[in-house]
Amino acid sequence: MDVLARLGIAAALVALVIALAWARARRRAGFRPRLARVPEDVLPAPRAPLTALYFTSRLCSECAETPGIVLDAAPEVPAVPLSVHDRPGLARALGVTETPTLLLVDAEGRIRYAQAGNPTPAALWTYVREAWDSLEEEGRLSRDATALLPRLK
């Protein structure tokens, strides 16, 4: 096999990797949950004003990072894993195609923010802050809730 043929194989391999990376980035960026809210039974009691639900699966090393990211970004927000194997219907209804997929939901199960893949702690903190502000504007925060999240007052 001459150098040109080898170069062609190498170029094809690089193109394949770039195509896979592009498809993945596009899928992640394009993720929008198909439902406006999640069933309230997935939220742990007592209900927090905001909960970080994240879909996990058996083959997902990235999912192990998610609770740590939530803890770093907003320790007041509980991180709750949901296995796509345990809740396949919910995952399908929401349009979850990969894990981890993170949903920031309020106490009534409304989805305030969604992302396929892990956000950075700084980005997640911004989303928590925005969700908190909109909850405040809508008058959905009790005095107790505000006391739970003193950093977000």
Binding site: V3, R6, L7, I9, A10, L13, V14, L16, V17, I18, L20, A21, R24, A25, R58, L59, C60, S61, E62, C63, A64, E65, G68, I69, D72, T120, P121, A122
Partner: protein, 167 residues
């Protein structure tokens, strides 16, 4: 003895032995991606220019990461002591558990060692370059997308053998 329990026992022993004999700290997640990019690119260069001697060198780099820990991989040291200061990069947003990376580097070491043997000892270019291209593809994929197939296999094995995995 049935095969599956024996296999599970062997894997559990392997994972526990690795965890107990070599402490695995948390590492800068950008270092393994740099390592994967360099290994992937150099594997392709070795293939295109037909330089099989490059493969055992890359295997040794990954072997250092697998046996001494990813932070001891010469490419990780290059990242830490040359690339980060040269590009004036700040600290990473989060650190990453080194265990899955170490396992992945072990798999890369095994594949590149096998490729080297196939090319340099058994004169089998199809097997040798096939393995090298597989390593190149997976390493470049990990470098570009952070999808580390070896880490996923580690996660699956750890779950299968009952040891909690943190990637």
């Amino acid at each position: 003895m049935e095969l599956e329990p024996a296999l599970v026992a062997a894997l559990r022993l392997f994972l526990v032995a690795r965890a107990s004999s070599f402490p695995v700290p948390r590492i800068d997640p950008r270092a393994p991606r740099f390592n994967q990019g360099v290994v992937g690119a150099l594997s392709l260069v070795a293939f295109v220019l037909k330089v099989p001697l490059l493969l055992p060198v890359l295997a040794l780099l990954l072997g250092a990461g697998a046996f001494l820990g990813p932070q001891a991989n010469p490419l990780a040291l290059l990242w830490k002591h040359a690339v980060v200061p040269a590009l004036k990069l700040g600290p990473p947003a989060r650190l990453k558990d080194a265990a899955p990376v170490r396992f992945a580097q072990g798999v890369g070491f095994a594949f590149l060692a096998a490729a080297s043997l196939a090319l340099l000892v058994f004169a089998s270019p199809l097997v040798g370059w096939g393995l090298a291209l597989l390593v190149a593809a997976l390493a470049l994929l990990a470098a570009v997308t952070d999808v580390c197939v070896g880490c996923e296999v580690y996660s699956l094995l750890a779950r299968w053998t009952g040891r909690s995995a943190q990637a």
